[in-house]
Symmetry: C2
Subunit: 380 residues, 2 copies
């Protein structure tokens, strides 16, 4: 096992009716920014529950955070925060709203000239952030219990991430009933997102970390088990609860303790979203099988273990096939061609960007521009 340090201070408030806990968890002394997205929370009753819990608080609302939240929108919220002297941000929504809240929390106290520098340094220059609390309405990103955020800049078609211990949510409310009204596509995306988050911390090479391996396999097995149930029966509480808890534990950073990590799929995927506007999970389902095929020898031992333990198959090839079949079974395409995207063109565009930044990812640090291009050309 590799050395590691691990700390996750987020309080999880899990279950039916837990939104009421906001009344005591959100500080009352100063105004609160209530941040949300496209307005689904106005239609599904969540906004009403949140407002009821905060009836003793001064609340300033800011809606309209996009999927793949934009720097440009976040900066408008930062201006509101500064003007109203807001000291607490409550994000209500999915990973995009939560990520935006983290960025706004850091940008509001950022000393530099241009907050985009937070993304360019991947968070290294974050020295303070307002406290953030969340009410999660879309299980997927794990943002509710980690210090990560991904922000896009429309002006330059860039999508970058930052990480800081200062932006872990103080608390996150996870009420599975808030997800009952999610469109099927969002649920499918969330399942794939959580699945691939687990894989980025698991599907590398053996590192004498049997407990972490089994924890990752536990998340994968549970997602495979609940996926068809929660897609077919959105109001099945138990399936939705297991999906929600699995997505949180997939990326609360515990699975990655002491083991090598990959993340090449995410980094290539971010570029596909930036260039073509694909959903984050859609890019992951395209790229991951390509990364596995490209690194088949280096990943063979773990692919075989995964295949054996999660799918009951014997070979690495069968494990890869089972994974794509699983994605297809829940309605997730796995090829660029499924979106009418020219693979050769996508490969060239992503490679150019990797080359310009000198990027290289993967557990061996060898997924560079050339590798990314080869992977994408093969996903036509």
């Amino acid at each position: 096992m590799q050395n590691f340090s691990y700390k996750n201070p987020t309080e999880i408030l899990f279950g039916k009716g837990m939104i009421a806990e906001l009344a005591t968890r959100v500080p009352r002394k100063t105004p609160v920014l209530l941040l949300y997205g496209g307005g689904s929370i106005l239609r599904n009753g969540v906004h009403e529950q949140v407002k009821a819990a905060l009836c003793q608080h001064r609340v300033i609302e800011f809606g309209g955070i996009e999927a793949n939240p934009l720097l440009e929108t976040c900066l408008q919220a930062v201006a509101v925060v500064k003007k109203a002297k807001i000291q607490f941000i409550l994000a209500v929504g999915g990973g995009s709203v939560l990520d935006a809240a983290k960025f706004i929390a850091a940008a509001a106290l950022f000393k530099g000239r241009d907050p985009w520098a937070i993304l360019e340094t991947h968070g290294a220059n974050v020295t303070a952030a307002l406290p953030v609390g969340t009410v999660l309405t879309l299980p997927a990103t794990g943002s509710e219990s980690n210090g990560n955020a991904v922000i896009s800049r429309a002006a330059t078609q860039e999508k970058l991430h930052f990480t800081s211990a200062l932006v872990f949510p103080v608390f996150s409310v996870l009420d599975p009933t808030t997800t009952y009204s999610l469109p099927k596509k969002f649920v499918r995306n969330g399942l794939v997102d959580a699945f691939v988050h687990t894989m980025e911390q698991y599907l590398t090479f053996p590192a004498a970390a049997p407990l972490q391996d089994r924890f990752s396999e536990a998340v994968l097995q549970t997602l495979v088990e609940v996926a068809p149930v929660t897609l077919a029966k959105p109001r099945n509480y138990d399936a939705r609860a297991s999906f929600m808890w699995s997505a949180t534990l997939a990326l609360n950073t515990q699975l990655g303790c002491g083991v090598p990590q990959d993340w090449a799929t995410h980094m290539i995927g971010h570029e596909l979203t930036a260039f073509y506007g694909l959903d984050h999970a859609e890019t992951l389902a395209i790229v991951m099988p390509g990364v596995w095929k490209y690194k088949l020898e280096a990943k063979r031992a773990k692919l075989e273990q995964y295949g054996r333990r999660v799918w009951g198959v014997k070979t690495a090839a069968a494990a890869c096939a089972k994974t794509e079949q699983f994605f297809h079974a829940i309605g997730m395409p796995t090829r660029l061609g499924d979106y009418k995207i020219n693979a050769a063109e996508a490969a060239a565009k992503v490679a150019e960007r990797f080359a310009a930044r000198g990027d290289a990812f993967g557990e061996h640090g060898d997924i560079d521009a050339k590798a990314a291009a080869a992977i994408l050309r093969d996903r036509k």
Copy 2:
């Protein structure tokens, strides 16, 4: 899944050489109490490493914390803390030293007359505590990453526990190499302790929590796998590291999120330690098979799942048998008779105490005096 709230703010610093991190993690402004036990850390090089890391700190040492730490000893340490205006306690040792540190941290700021009241209220009256950091040298109790402590009072042969969010360690250093010199008996005890901690949160009744079940099974499988290796080869780093990390995750309170919990084995076991001086783990290995047999029907579904997934056997009876065989294989007796303790007498003594306090434990709250007596009579 049941509703739950979960928060674990302890920072884990895991791996070879991590004791050096104390230099920056322990605050320097005020004197530090360095708490330890019988002095093994003076012989195995850990004390030297700790002192080297704290060469810039003012350190006041307090050794001599017993296995099953005594109130009487802890109160001497509280006097030292108050006199020297100590603001940080560094516990170096196993669960006993860590538990003592937590109690001392709470007792030093306790407003009531008699700090034993902290135990009598199981922590409900703890309103403040000094910060505690730990260097763990014995994987077993999980005390390095939870808010629990167990303290004994010699004067009355009592052993009680308390829990408070205020006594979670700020950080815990887990360096597997510090455990290389442990006597085999301590390793055996730690393996059983971690195993039974997991069981108390798992072996109840199905609660539609498939991910928690699999996480618990992951810990059980890993302990079963590494136990013979780490007993035979104490200096095998990977096995010792997996054992250490398993013991921490067995009781960092995450496994118990959203599921029923038992703890009857622990509560009966504490009485056996209080009356007969058995090691904590020795009591658990005696009592747990008895609790399972007594509640066989209520626990059958989970026993069968456990048997199937961890041991590859089909029946509840076979799962029980495999568990006792595992304990025996690592040198752990499972009967009162193995210690020449009269089962009928032990049953009567424990039952009297349960009856006097009106205690009842277990996931159904029905392990009362009568049940405890029946369980113990059967463990002759």
